[in-house]
């Protein structure tokens, strides 16, 4: 009985963690779901305005740092105001996934 329960719990935990990994690993869908692509372009290199940056191929450390600073308000120059309003949609783990994915683009 106990063993059965343990196996059940262990296997559901494995499934759950696999699901979590799949979800969090998908920077591409986060990039769309969190509306990043509305401004930066579906391919992350055709922003809607020339004063918005291309993001494809950006260093992930840099991209993550800018996202965090814009969300917290530490960075408020340039077009940060346009982006800060949507940053409530992303947590730090999601930002990291998006940054990772962006850095993988050419």
């Amino acid at each position: 009985m106990n063993l059965k329960k343990t196996v059940l719990i262990a296997s559901s935990m494995a499934i759950l963690s696999a699901m979590a990994t799949t979800a969090s690993a998908d920077g591409a869908s986060l990039y769309q779901a969190k509306t990043c692509w509305a401004c930066h372009g579906k391919d992350a290199q055709t922003p809607i305005l020339p004063i918005y940056p291309k993001l494809a191929g950006q260093n992930k450390e840099y991209a993550l740092a800018q996202m965090k600073d814009i969300k917290s308000g530490v960075r408020s120059n340039g077009q940060a105001a346009a982006m800060q309003g949507v940053m409530g949609l992303v947590n730090e783990a999601e930002m990291a996934e998006i940054a990772e994915w962006l850095s993988s683009l050419k």
């Binding site: 509306t35 509305a38 809607i48 077009q79 346009a82 309003g85 949609l89």
Partner: protein
């Protein structure tokens, strides 16, 4: 050739928008100036909307407001579906004329993103006819009696007994709107941040405490939308693949 004309018109309109910034930078303080109805707002209202073009134009908007026009429950983006067309026209025209500060939406409201007055006429007619979200974001429900009392005392004169607003007078429909979005706008209107607000409303709500504000918005977020205006739960807009 047609495209060049459109681009030229777009550039001219950007020029006008930028030009009007200086003169329109302040808060509207007199109710007669709240809705002057000039320029493209009144032009758009006279044009016959084209549904197919409305669908095409709305695709830009859908990146944030979603294909269904239902916005986000957490209030980051408002529901647009079912809103009065005149309200949509006014807000879009105000945002692109920089009479309402919305840096996130501003580039999408520009003529080169969505088009001219005809595009405004088309997209707003399309949005106004979309079925509404059956599951909008709501408050925590802890102070609803106070919220109801405040609503009945302050809001029906313009927004109606059931938050239905008024198409003819440009008063927005607020029933079914997401709580967090309404709360943010209400606060901005109270505190003078929403520059195109109706000055009568600014005066009316000046003394609202933060608790009263949350209570009345929570109550408003729970006003039932007529069933005929609602989409089914999980509805997906069939106009897009």
């Amino acid at each position: 050739m047609k495209k060049i004309t459109v681009i030229a018109a777009g550039v001219a309109m950007i020029g006008m928008s930028v030009g009007s910034t200086a003169s329109a930078s302040g808060q509207v303080t007199d109710v007669k100036d709240w809705n002057t109805g000039e320029g493209e707002q009144s032009v758009a209202m006279t044009l016959t909307p084209d549904r197919e073009n409305g669908i095409e134009v709305y695709e830009v908007c859908s990146a944030c407001h979603l294909l269904e026009g239902w916005g986000m429950q957490n209030g980051t983006f408002p529901q647009l579906a079912g809103q009065h067309r005149n309200v949509l026209i006014k807000q879009l025209a105000d945002i692109r004329a920089l009479n309402r500060d919305n840096p996130t939406m501003y580039p999408f409201a520009l003529p080169e993103s969505i088009g001219d007055e005809q595009a405004i006429a088309d997209v707003t007619a399309y949005i106004a006819a979309l079925p509404m979200n059956p599951d909008n974001g709501k408050g925590d429900g802890t102070n609803l009696a106070r919220g109801e009392e405040l609503y009945k005392k302050n809001c029906p004169q313009c927004h109606g007994d059931n938050g239905e607003g008024n198409q003819e007078k440009f008063y927005p429909k607020i029933q079914g709107q997401h709580y967090a979005y309404m709360l943010r706008q209400f606060e901005w209107i109270r505190d003078g941040k929403r520059r195109n607000a109706n000055p009568d409303m600014v005066k009316q709500i000046a003394e609202f405490s933060n608790d009263d504000m949350r209570a009345v918005i929570d109550y408003t977020s729970r006003i039932a939308v007529p069933a005929a205006n609602l989409g089914p739960i999980g509805w997906q807009n069939p106009d897009y693949d």
